[in-house]
Structures are given as structure tokens and as C-alpha cells.
């Protein structure tokens, strides 16, 4: 499995597991906010850099080139 998928899976698993993690789902405050709020907020934020790994990888640039080529060919056909 490509490392980008593993990195992306981490916030997904962390968010889905939120209520089943006893150290998160407890009446306590982290940095002055409810632990559930900090946990979900932090992992939601982590999704953007994880997706950036995909977006700025070579394969996506290649897909963009293929799309541009395909659109261009269709334009020529017309």
C-alpha cells in the first residue's frame, strides 16, 4: 500500500473511533476545551495535509496532464 494511503487512514480511523476511546470520551478538558472537541478538531485539521500528500504527488500531476490531453483531443475532434 502506498504510504499516502496509510497517512490518510490515520485521521479517518481516529475520527471514526472517537467515542470508543476512553481517554477521549471522558469528562475532562484539554487546553481548556472538551477532550472530544479537541480530538475531533485536531484530526479534522489533519485531513487537509494528508490529502495534500496525494494532491501534490506525481500521479495526480500525471492525471491532470492526461485530462488536459483528453480535453484537447476532443476539442480537435470538434
Amino acid at each position: 500500500m502506498r504510504p499516502q494511503y496509510v497517512v490518510l487512514a490515520i485521521p479517518v480511523v481516529a475520527l471514526v473511533a472517537t467515542v470508543w476511546l476512553p481517554f477521549v470520551n471522558t469528562a475532562t478538558l484539554w487546553i481548556g476545551l472538551p477532550s472530544v472537541m479537541v480530538w475531533t478538531g485536531a484530526w479534522v485539521l489533519a485531513i487537509t495535509p494528508a490529502l495534500c500528500l496525494f494532491e501534490f504527488s506525481r500521479s495526480q500531476r500525471e492525471a491532470d496532464r492526461a485530462d488536459a490531453q483528453r480535453t484537447g483531443e476532443r476539442g480537435e475532434e470538434r
Partner: protein, 484 residues
Amino acid sequence: MSATLAVTLVGIVVIGVLGFVGRRKATGDLSEWTVGGRQFGAVTMWFLQAGEVFTTFTFLGMAGLAFTGGVAALYALPYIPLAYVGLYFLGPIIWRRAHDRGHLTMADFLSDFYDSRLLGFVAAVFGVVFLLPYLQLQITGLGLAVQVATGDQTSSTVSIIIAFVIVVAFVLWSGIKGVATTSYFKDALMLIVLLVLVVAIPAHFGGGIGPTFHKVLAEHPGMLTVHAGEFDRAFFFSSMVASTLGVLFMTLPHQWPALLSAGSPRAVRRNYVFLPVYSLALALPMIIGFTALIVLKQGTDSNAALLTLAQRAFPDWFVGLVVVGTASAAMVPAAGLIVGMSSLIGRNIAGRRRSDRHQFLVNQGSVVGTTGLALVLAITRPDLLANLLLLTYSGLDQLIPGIALALLPRRVVGLWAVLAGLVVGEIVVIWLTFGNVYSGHINVGLIALVPNIVVVAVVAMLVRAAGRQPSPTTPEDKRVSHAR
């Protein structure tokens, strides 16, 4: 006229003006009107889809849910970003096929893949019926905001009539482009208003955000955990999963114009990369809801919690700005809903087999008809559609198997299996919601997906056993034949 009402009315008119600015001259082309000629870049897409995240439910309802359910309200924070993770991969697939085949709606996509106008018609009918109460919710949300802020029912009624006549007018003129231009204003205003509220309200009532949560911890520790009761782990987990799946598989019809208006798959992907950051803003009204826990009495109308605190802490003119924020959270998503619903009626229900010109005219008529119906019901029979709202998400979730299978490159399951599963899923949702047979907290839409999928599998196997396999036509094959 109070300062609050004056600011509110001026704000509503400004939103309308921005909606008209979206298009310089009128168009008679449904594609141009619905998906803006498929030319939007990543930034416009971002505002358009971000605009769908923040509705009156988010603005008023999230604060209210935090007030009644504590951190259980946080199920609403991760589900949209989780769906975006999947849509980063699925969105470009949908966009490419819709672009190649000229789809404008969810029903176009389904009817084309399964080669069945009937399925498109059924999906469109479910889409319109389940979204109508959601449109009414935006109207009643705006009415509630004006009523709480001004204390006057007449001002509330007049405001929602003015607001939604303006929405109809700019949607008729500008279509999706009007939704986009108003989204810029709406998102900027809502963020500014929310940031002021989230700093000032806890500071005013609890000495700051930190001290407020320490008071909540001391007085209502149960509100800081997802615990037993109505908002338990089953509620949190199943609501999050059901909502994620619904957004991921684009079951909400108004998601389609926003996605299909993108100029390229790259714009689609970039949008989903950066949208999760914006979703964090959903936590802001929840913080205000927690502040309400230490200020308001239990039993206070939860949906009015945010505005009640704002009214006690701010001068009238600023309360007016908060109401304008609420109005924008009602009017802009409502405009998106109207575009989604009217295009379904124009393309897939009333305008089937008709010319493009006829479809456009039906579409414009249904903009007025659906909004008028929702407005009249919101004013005269506000509870009539309330029960139907319970079905909105669960009912639309039953489209998941059909849409998911249509994302495959080849048709592996035929029309009748998907249609049978959809009908069974809807029946189970209605039975569990209104039949007094289920009192658990697992999301009804998620439960109904089980028989839905089982029926799809069983009917597909029966069809295969009868030797009538679905034609493995692919969108690629169709594109080739279309080109010929």
C-alpha cells in the same frame, strides 16, 4: 422599526443584490443556469460547497444541540470532512462522466448509467420530496431568528416573505452563479459574526472560553462525554457514519450542481483538500451552546439559545448583524436547494422527453412553485412537513447502493435490483420512523440500508439465475456510440 429589524432588512436586500450580480444577462440554457457552464475554479467551488455546510441548522441548531446534548453534537463536526476524503477520489470520477455525458442532476447520472428513465424519475421524486422540508427548515430558521431578535411575529413573517421573494428572483435570474456570489458574502459575514460571538459571549457570561468550560465541567460533567441516554454512543457513531455515507455518495440532490459546476477534475480535488479546514468552524456555535448551559434554564428553546445569548450581550444593531448572518445561512443554502430541486423537476420529472427550451421553462416554473409551497407551508402550517424532515437524510441515504454501483466502470447490477432495494429501503425507513416499532438510537437510515443492500444482492442473483444478466454497457461505450 427597531435597529435590529432595520439592519436585518438591509442585510437581506444586500444578499439579494449580490445574487443578481452573479449574472450580467439572462440565459435560457439550463446547463448554463444549473452548473454555470462547468467553468468554476477551485476558489469559487470552495465557497459554493462551503456555503452548503453552513445552514440555519448549523448556525442555530448546532448551538442548540450542544445545549441539549453536550459533546454528542460533535458528531456533526467530522462527518463532512470524512466524506470529503472519499469525495477527493470519487468526485473527479463523477465529474468526468457527467462532463462527457452532459449530466446536470443526480437523476441524469442514474438514469444514464442504468439506461432507465424510470429510475431517474423515481430518484428525482424522492430527491424533491425529501428536500422540500429541508427548504422549509431554512425559511422557519430565518423566521425564528427574526422573531427571537425582535420579539415580533409580524416582523418575522414579513422578513421571511421578503427574503424568499428575493431568493426566488435572484435564483431565476442567476441560477448557480447567484448562489456562488452570495456565498462569498455569506461565508465572510458568518465567520466574522461567529468569531465575535465565540469570543464575546463566553467572556461576557463565563469569564472566557476556558473558565466557561471549567464551569460546565463542574456543573454538568455529563455534557462533556458521549454517555447513555438519547445522545449515546450509538447515536453519535451511527449518525456520523450515516451522514458521512450520504454526503460521500452525493445522495443530496443539491450537491450535484455545485460539483458539476467545476471547471476541471483538478478544481474538484483541490476543493476537497481544503474544505475540511472550513468545517472546523462548525465548532464555533457549539462553544456558544456550551455557554448557554451555564446561563439558560433547562427547557429553554434550544434553537433560540445562540440568539438569546447574543441579545443579552450585544446592542441591537449587532444583534441585527447576527440575524443577517442567520438570514444568509438560510437564503444562500436555500438558493442551492432550489437549484437542485428545480433542475430535478425540469430535467427528470415534468420535463422528461421534452425540448431543452421546455425543460428550462419547467425549471423556472418549479423554482417559483417549490419555494412558494415551502413558504406558504412555513407560514400557515409550520408543523406539516416537520415529520417529513425526519425522513430527509435517512430517506436519501437509501440511494447509496444505486449511486455506489453506478460509480463502477461497468454495470454489474441491473435496474430492477437497484429499484427494488431503493423501494424496500424507503419502506423500512418510513416504518421505523413512524411505525412506533423502534426506540433505539441507531440511525434509521443506516438500519434500512441493510435490507436495501440485501434486496439488491438477492434480486441481482435471481436475475442472473434467470439468465437475464444486466447489459454491461459502460459510460465509455456510450461515449463512443454518442460520438458516432
